[in-house]
């Protein structure tokens, strides 16, 4: 994570619902009261405390996704996956387990594959994200996308974006030198339809084709 913290985040204490509210009243809200007492006190009385807290809880995030720069206010608990899907409408990145166990959410962060469900949005401040939507150059598909089409490396298509992002990284990492190695390094991406042999064949073809991935 970048040293630059856009704004101060709450401490790392684990706060239950009730104590969290108390905490907010005592800290964030008090800060707010200090700034604009009249309005904020009135707000607290009208249960506006949570709404105010909602604003204070957000952090500024600068991130580049598929070449587009975004400056966003996000809650620190928002995962990169949910940020992409629910706030940026980049739904090509899929949620399969939300626990880093299936790989459907794989994206590239500064060129490396990561599970976006295990990555908080605030962790990618000042980083470059590539999702499946950013892989093709206009109408020209990435060689891995072409190979998946040719070898039928998918059926339902749901794990496919994660498989493709992982496959591209697998070659870049130098982990695609044999069928066995590909299988090992692609085992973090589950495909319930069972397209595994076709996926291996697609990756091998791209690797052997020598194209830049």
């Amino acid at each position: 994570m970048s040293d630059k913290k856009p704004c101060k985040s709450p401490d790392n204490e684990v706060l239950s619902g009730e104590s969290r509210r108390e905490f907010l009243k005592k800290s964030t809200l008090l800060t707010a009261i200090a700034l604009t007492p009249g309005v904020a006190v009135k707000a607290a009385e009208g249960q506006w405390d949570e709404k105010l807290a909602g604003v204070f809880e957000k952090m500024l995030l600068h991130v580049e996704v598929n070449g587009v720069k975004h400056s966003l206010m996000v809650e620190p608990r928002v995962t990169l996956l949910d940020l992409l899907r629910e706030q940026l409408d980049l739904t090509g990145t899929k949620k399969g387990c939300d626990h880093g166990q299936c790989g459907a959410c794989t994206v590239h962060v500064d060129g490396h594959r990561v599970n976006s469900c295990l990555t908080l949005g605030v962790m990618v401040n000042d980083k470059k994200i590539t999702t499946i939507e950013g892989l093709a150059k206009g109408d020209q598909l990435h060689p891995m996308q072409e190979a998946f089409l040719k070898h039928d490396g998918f059926q339902c298509g749901y794990c496919t974006p994660g498989q493709i992002m992982s496959a591209v990284a697998c070659i870049r990492e130098g982990h695609a030198n044999s069928e066995g190695e590909i299988r090992e390094y692609m085992s973090g991406n589950i495909c319930r339809c069972g397209a595994y042999p076709n996926i291996v064949n697609a990756i091998q073809e791209v690797k052997d084709g020598g194209q830049t991935v």
Binding site: K95, C156, I182
Partner: protein, 709 residues
């Protein structure tokens, strides 16, 4: 084929998926991915007890949490007018939020709706319930005696009961399959959006938009046409989206309450308790044969678990009535109500469970007789349907045995277990066969040829992954003699012409035939325009006649002649395993699946479907098992780290082979289904290969290393 093929626009290897480009670019939109204005988010809260009642439920804290719009429980759930009864057996799926009763662990007790997903998730953690606990039962084996014969699956007897016991050579063994969970990669999800008080649109994960439309319409007392169901892409289902589940009804009710669109995405843990599973099933098979390997009798008993509120019934023992020419067969099927959620058909439904037992038992008999397992099957080959006495519409199972045996190198196999080794690993070969009814139901397709030569094909069927759209485009391209690139397939929308639910291996037969019939009718219309000539220059014909388009909507169904035949698809699976004698690790080294699925209309996607089914069968054999801690009645491995499904490292180059001979009666393409047979018989083939490698017969799946050392 009824109509001559005008040219060959389809390459030999088959079309690449017509929706492939959308899928590889991330543009294919699944149910949770529609950008609906004003959408809010739902998160389910599940029961932490397994049987009893909710004594009190504290929702105030959650309701006060930031962004929360509503917390729905049985105390405040909006009236669902179609819920007439409480949860009595066989009155449909669980009725959600109707009372305080708890039937299983994880049963939804509340639905939290908030303006963001994170806020809903946090607030859901604040809902607390107190319960009155009753003693639950979740252990199938401990409750076998409470099984009963369901009304839909009566005991079957042909010839003499338990005749196997009197045969010169007999075997009798018990086989157990644990609960397996479909676990499609896409989480079940729905966005429910009321457009008016009596009109709703849902983007839903479903295998059947028409059936979901009907169920929601019934539940909320709406005219079906006021319920719009959209599912153009479905991220796998394997049976888990065959029915409309309680969470879907809850989302629709919630959207009504909060007067905003509601998006509800189940968590992976929810997927284990909300959308069915292949039930834990105990089986016993007795086989008797003459010394030269002719079956004298088959007895097949099975007991599968169900919930206490539904009598889930599947055809576990049917395969023993159908597969072999045995004069004496009797089957008994029982269901055992437990404090679990209701199972639902999972790929190859009961037949895959039954085939595991029957095809393992056939293998055991082959060793008892010292006859090659394929030879034993050929000696008991059924030349006509043993159940109905009818001739088969088509059956090329013997060819399939041969194709697979040649491909895997069956002649290398030794009949003596544990006698082959390679590099310190034990090597074994196994095979298992499968069968499933080949069906054709009714479907309607609109075929519209536009002035620019584009052909639109429309019907409501969903494509959950098998490649239905690609098969439709293949059939239309051949029939019309046009390039597949000019074909646009539109599916998965309840506003489109009626089609069956995607499931039961009937879609290519049914919808494909409707495409074929629609194209035939469209060509006839063009022929009339052309004064009886047979031109395929459709754009010129449209231009000449000053038409923007030519369109037909054709309803299609099978012929009555089908009643004279027994129609099945057949499969045979060959497996070569390496077993490490020290660690008990089983590696599938070769997997060959052969299908007699009639004429193959879409070779590339068909091969993928067979391979995928085989891989699911390998998972069934070697790793999949949902484990309940019976002390609490709770699943302990409801996630992908602990519930193991096959991953890349587990799977070799699976190969799919087809007999590829048309069925003359079922439909004009000569195609039969293949989704189910892809999995049916695979688990037995793996178990049989493990026995051949090690001499150890594991009769309780999955075959994990601890059982082999």
């Amino acid at each position: 084929m009824e109509s001559k093929i005008l040219n060959k626009p389809i390459p030999e290897e088959g079309l690449s998926r017509v929706d492939g480009r959308l899928k590889v670019t991330g543009k294919a939109k699944y149910s949770a991915e529609y950008d609906v204005k004003g959408v809010c988010y739902g998160v389910m809260v599940g029961s932490t007890i397994t049987k009893g009642n909710i004594k009190s439920i504290e929702t105030k804290t959650a309701e006060r949490a930031p962004g929360v719009l509503a917390v729905i429980t049985y105390l405040n759930c909006p009236n669902i007018p179609g819920y007439h009864t409480d949860n009595q057996p066989d009155k449909g799926p669980l009725k959600i939020f109707i009372d305080d009763k708890i039937y299983f662990n994880g049963q939804p007790i509340a639905l939290v709706i908030a303006d963001t997903y994170e806020r809903a998730l946090f607030a859901a953690s604040l809902v607390k319930a107190d319960y009155t606990k009753d003693q639950h039962q979740t252990d199938l084996k401990a409750n076998l005696s409470s099984g009963f014969s369901p009304s839909k699956a009566k005991d079957y007897l042909r010839g003499q009961e338990d005749a196997y016991k009197l045969a010169p050579v007999k075997i009798e063994h018990e086989y157990t399959l644990p609960t397996e969970v479909h676990n499609p990669m896409e989480l079940h999800a729905i966005i429910a959006c009321w457009d008016a008080d009596d009109k709703i649109t849902v983007w839903d994960k479903t295998q059947g938009v028409k059936s979901t439309q009907r169920v929601i319409a019934q539940a909320f007392k709406l005219p079906p046409e006021n319920v719009q169901v959209t599912a153009p892409f479905v991220g796998g289902a394997f049976g888990a989206a065959l029915r409309t589940w309680p969470h879907e009804i809850a989302a629709v009710a919630a959207a009504k309450l909060v007067k905003r669109p509601v998006k509800l995405v189940l968590s992976r843990a929810d997927m284990f308790t909300s959308v069915g599973y292949r039930p834990h099933t105990w089986q016993k098979v007795g086989l008797g044969a003459t010394a030269d390997g002719k079956l004298v009798g088959i007895t097949h008993e099975a007991s599968g678990q169900t919930s206490v509120y539904e009598n889930f019934t599947e055809g576990v023992v049917n395969i023993s009535q159908l597969m072999y020419a045995s004069p004496n067969v009797n089957t008994r099927y029982r269901i055992v109500p437990l404090n679990v959620n209701t199972p639902t058909p999972m790929r190859g439904p009961g037949e895959a469970t039954g085939a595991y037992a029957l095809e393992s038992a056939m293998d055991e008999l082959s060793y008892a007789l010292n006859i090659d397992p394929i030879e034993l099957r050929i000696r008991n080959h059924a030349d006509s349907d043993p159940l109905s006495g009818k001739p088969y519409s088509s059956k090329f199972l013997k060819e399939a045995y041969q194709l697979g045996a040649d491909k895997i190198g069956w002649s290398e196999r030794s009949q003596k277990p544990g006698s082959l080794t390679k590099d310190g690993w034990l090597v074994g070969y196994g095979m298992g066969a499968g069968m499933f009814g080949a069906y054709r139901s009714n479907a309607t397709v609109t075929a519209r040829l536009m002035a620019d030569g584009t052909l639109f094909l429309q019907t409501s069927v969903t494509d959950i992954g098998p490649g239905t759209g690609t098969a439709m485009a293949s059939i239309a391209a051949e029939s019309m003699g046009i390039s597949p690139e000019k074909i646009r397939v539109e599916l998965g929308d309840s506003a489109l012409p009626p089609s069956p639910t995607q499931g039961g291996s009937q879609v290519t037969s049914t919808v494909g035939a409707a495409v074929f019939d629609a194209c035939k009718e469209l060509k006839d219309k063009f022929r009339q325009l052309d004064g009886g000539a047979d031109s395929t220059d459709y754009t010129a014909l449209l231009q000449k006649n000053k038409l923007q388009k030519l369109e037909v909507t054709t309803a299609s169904k099978g012929s009555a002649a089908m009643n004279n035949y027994a129609a099945f698809s057949w499969s045979v699976h060959f497996i070569q395993v390496y077993v490490n004698p020290n660690t008990g690790v089983v590696k599938v080294n070769k997997a060959i699946s052969v299908a007699d699925a009639g004429h193959i209309v879409s070779p590339k996607t068909a091969a993928s479907q067979i391979k995928g089914g085989s891989i699911m069968g390998i998972g069934m054999a070697l790793m999949e098992e949902a484990v309940i801690d019976h002390r609490y009645g709770r699943l302990v491995n409801n996630n992908f780290a602990d519930y193991h499904m096959p991953v890349q490292a587990d799977i070799p180059q699976v190969e799919a082979l087809f007999v590829n001979k048309p069925d003359p009666y079922l439909n004009p393409m000569g195609a039969k289904g293949m989704g189910e047979i892809a999995t049916i018989g695979v688990a037995a083939a793996v178990a049989n290969a493990v026995y051949n490698a090690t001499g150890k017969r594991i009769r309780e799946l999955p075959i994990t290393p601890d059982k082999l050392i």
